[in-house]
Amino acid sequence: MTTNKQKREGAVIFSEYERGSAIKKALSMGRDDILFELRESKLKGRGGAGFPTSTKWMLVAAAKAEEKYLICNADEGEPGTFKDRVLLLEYPELVFDAMVVGGYTLGAKHGVVYLRGEYEYMKKSLEDYLEAMRKDNLLGNNILGKEGFNFDISIFLGSGAYVCGEETALIESMEGQRGEARNKPPYPVNTGFMGMPTAVNNVETLAAVSHIVVKSGAWFKQHGTDKSTGSKLLSISGDCKKPGVYELPWGTKISELLELVGAENTKAVQVGGASGICLSRSEFDRTLAYEDAATGGSIMIFNENRDMLKVLKNFMEFFVEESCGQCTPCRIGNVKLLEGIEMIERGEYTFSYIKKLKDLGNTMKVASKCGLGQSSPNSFISILDNFSDEIFNNVNGGSHA
């Protein structure tokens, strides 16, 4: 387990918040008003896909069904991310209060935290926290005196597979099946857990909701950029002096970030974890934003001493292992990409075959069944493109051997 060496508190998620205040405020508002504030805020999902949270909630709120579910996605399986853990451990009120607000807004009675298997050690303290909420009537029946509003939260321990963070695989796993992504459409908002309308939200998304309810959507969107409002929690790891969790406004430049964390002689920055893209020095003036370099939170920094082919190989080994194996492009495609890397290592490749593999990567991006296979070629393509000099020249010098 990595310890959190640093925590930089920014102006949004880590701003002042009083336990239970979002629930109190929400119960005094109409559901439509809550949805309105969310839309105003332009909050987008922090789990990676960046889907507008207000739209997701509206769809579930509008669905007619006997049961609805709100699931907090705390699977946090992307290598190099640990920001959800920090939120749950240190700011559980932000997450749980938002779930209660969600229960109220969506008309759901059940909330579930899908907790990453490795975080089992947190389960007890989270359950104690929920128990305290029950005592204070922040959970349970007729919450805070609101007649007929019943909502409770349980914790489901995940099975340890990365793909289970994908929302439909997560639901499958909760239903006791193999963690495999479902066909979409239909989406969980209308056919989710047990076939019922279900909102799956990332931990950080929920934390933002609590602030928005208390402080308004207008307040939230003062931060960040026009298309990427608010701030982002980043898990920063790799070659820098001050790795840790940072809250930074969307729109921050990579170069600014590198300075902040004390990174020197940086050669490459992997934005968005293994499934993200790898930027080279010439791109360090790009910004962290949905419209530019998007990230679910992971930033990995590599300095000049790193062998980018090895970095890439690590990523691809991860995907070969973590693919659920149901669909062809991802199950076999990732193996082919990894084999390609090994060919480069051995110096036994042709550029035309590498080109073929990049084309294959592009197929995987569009033809795979879920986000895992759709994003696994990102690092392959971006590292081979952005570091071609190093990678292919090194081969000639034989230094990968």
Partner: protein, 638 residues
């Protein structure tokens, strides 16, 4: 939305298909989309794939099978839907809004080509040594997309050991493309569930419970998975070599009995339209191949009706008149060995409901090495008895240890329709052009009632034709037009019928030792049900357990395979609803063309009783040769 209790497959493999509205003429019942720039209107919830089929647009598929729920895993059927970032699997995409679809863009074509290349790179197997050569979906795809070399390399060594443990189904996982059709067949269509995907990523493979050999798990040998596997990864245990050897051995007297379903389907193996019977061409071909005698299993189907029908009458008499609690009603048919094994595993407490009458195949086996051998002065040891069956479970059945009542192995080999077609081809024969000939006697003459055993409802119809006449003393035509007992026909998964017995006649001689008179059935209503596919069998068994309406039935026909034997695991591939319906039609047409259509009117059967079983059906000797017992197996495998 799926109904959870109906299907056991993981939701990721369930039909996430929006239910089509009952009346598509209502407002919102249809949706108009653009398919390759052409506007088409389809019922709401139609998949893109189905919409394309309707409009003659070909989309390649691999994991899709019309009998099965959606998987969406091979990704071959991807198409472009405007406005969506990724390609969409057309088999899994229900149309609910006016989308614009493109089925042959450069991106789509490239993706399909890549997917085929990937599948082939991992596929260990050589077409020329594969039973699916020329009838393999992977091979066809490779041809369709002009694959002429291995774009992404090719696996050089086998990764798995071939599982040859089962008498019925052989699994060669090196040829598996992980389409999961077998998994969905086994769990959804058959509710058996012995196959599952295990492992992740490139280690994913189809496996059995704890990786045990197929012979050691609850597989019922139905072979439905073989019929739906797109490749040669699943095949039946093929006895051709042994049979050729016997044929070529002058000391051996090789006979073959032929079940009703193969003749209605074997033409398909020779490129003929489904729905044509080749009975008489097949008998000629069998002789030319070198079988010494060619018999009709329908003969013992007639015999089965005599035994099983009598058993039913006896059971009802004992249960209703003598109030004997040890007698179990309803009586279940026992001619489908897949069904029998299913019951032995999943409902062993109902073993006593199974008719003790052997299946026609095994009755035949017992008679060949006794009655026939005696009559013709042949040493039973020299007889090799082959059974042409539509079924893979029949291979298991003839290997059941108790099936030695003749003093020898009653049936030596179960041969499937597919395997016989192969033998015919090997002999250089083109079946459809064979001259016609009849079966050999004494087991050559059979009734239409025996013939219709091949279709779901057939055993029941045959039994009704006989039991009705024995009881009422009247012609069954007086009750059912043209002798067609339509209430038990058709492809509905579970059929239920009530047949009132309004009048009774004198007890026929053959039954006199067993029942004194028919007074006790007068005015009664015979309640029967017909069930095909073990998933449907499960529904009925659960209802019986719960004391529902099926527990009040007197007689229930169960067939393991969807459609009955004509959809058996040894029949030509592919299979689908339309093909099965055509095979059924072929069988019913042939029945209607016959003059002999009732089992108890089969003179040869009556002669057999006279000469060999003089005490009649369900007598001591018939019990020894023509009846059997079952094994409580249970679900849990040690």
């Amino acid at each position: 939305m799926h109904k959870k209790e109906e299907l056991r497959a993981p939701v990721s493999q369930k039909p996430h298909v929006v239910e089509k509205p009952e009346n598509i003429d209502t407002i919102g019942g249809t949706v108009t989309l653009e398919l390759n720039e052409k506007k088409v209107t389809v019922p709401l919830g139609t998949t893109i794939l189905d919409a394309c089929k309707e409009n003659n647009i070909h989309i390649p598929t691999l994991c899709h099978h019309e009998d099965l729920c959606v998987a969406g895993v091979c990704r071959l059927c991807v198409v472009e839907v405007e406005g969506m970032r990724t390609l969409q699997a057309s088999c899994a995409y229900p149309i609910t809004s006016p989308i614009k679809v493109h089925t042959s863009t450069p991106m789509v074509r490239q993706a399909r080509k890549h997917i085929i290349d990937l599948l082939i790179s991992e596929h260990y197997g050589e077409c020329y040594s594969c039973f699916r050569n020329n009838n393999c979906e992977l091979q066809s795809l490779a041809k369709e997309y002009g694959v002429d070399h291995y774009n992404f390399g090719h696996i050089e060594k086998p990764r798995y050991e071939v599982d040859k443990s089962s008498y019925s189904v052989i699994r060669d996982m090196d040829k598996c493309v992980l389409c999961k059709r077998c998994v969905r067949t086994c769990i959804d269509l058959q509710e058996v569930g012995v196959l599952e995907a295990v492992g992740r990523g490139d280690q994913t493979r189809i496996s059995t419970f704890l990786d045990k050999p197929l012979a050691d798990v609850v597989c019922i040998n139905c072979g439905q998975c073989i019929n739906r596997c797109p490749t040669g990864a699943l095949r039946a245990n093929d006895p051709r070599d042994e049979i050729w050897e016997a044929i070529d051995d002058p000391k051996k007297h090789v006979i073959i009995q032929t079940a009703p379903s193969p003749r209605a389907a074997i033409g398909e193996e020779f490129g003929q339209e489904p729905g044509l019977s080749y009975t008489k061409e097949m008998t000629t071909a069998l002789r030319r191949i070198g079988f010494d005698k060619v018999f009709d299993t329908n003969f013992t189907a007639d015999l089965t009706i005599m035994e099983e029908g009598t058993e039913l009458i006896l059971r009802l008499y004992k249960a209703l008149v003598e109030k004997d609690n040890s007698v179990k009603v309803p009586q279940f048919t026992s001619c489908s060995p897949g069904w029998v094994k299913y019951l032995e595993h999943f409902y062993p407490e109902y073993i006593d409901n199974l008719s003790s009458a052997k299946s026609p195949q095994q009755m035949f086996g017992a008679l060949i090495k006794t009655y026939y051998a005696e009559k013709n002065g042949i040493n039973p040891e020299d007889i090799v008895s082959v059974a042409l069956m539509p079924c893979s479970a029949k291979k298991f059945e003839c290997n059941r240890p108790e099936m030695h009542d003749s003093g020898f192995k009653d049936v030596d080999y179960g041969l499937t329709t597919r395997e016989l077609a192969q033998m015919i081809k090997e002999a250089g024969i083109f079946l459809p052009e064979m001259p016609k000939s009849n079966f050999d006697n004494p087991f050559g003459e059979a009734s239409g009632a025996g013939l219709i055993f091949g279709a779901t409802g057939g055993v029941m119809e045959a039994a009704i034709r006989t039991v009705y006449e024995l009881i009422t003393g009247k012609n069954v035509e007086d009750f059912f037009e043209n002798m067609n007992v339509t209430p038990v026909r058709g492809f509905e998964g579970v059929k239920y019928a009530e047949l009132p017995i309004t009048e009774v006649g004198p007890v026929p001689d053959i039954l006199k030792p067993l029942v004194p008179n028919w007074d006790w059935v007068k005015g009664a209503t015979l309640k029967v049900a017909v069930v095909h596919g073990t998933a449907n069998a499960k529904k009925v068994m659960e209802d019986i357990k719960a004391g529902g309406k099926f527990s009040e039935c007197h007689f229930i026909e169960f067939m393991a395979c969807p459609g009955g034997c004509l959809g058996g695991g040894g029949q030509p591939i592919p299979t689908n609803k339309e093909i099965r319906a055509k095979r059924a039609q072929a069988i019913y047409n042939e029945d209607e063309s016959l003059t002999l259509r009732k089992s108890h009117m089969n003179e040869n059967v009556l002669r057999l009783y006279e000469e060999f079983l003089p005490e009649g059906p369900c007598s001591h000797k018939s019990h020894k040769l023509l009846h059997t017992h079952y094994t409580e197996r249970g679900k849990y495998i040690a």
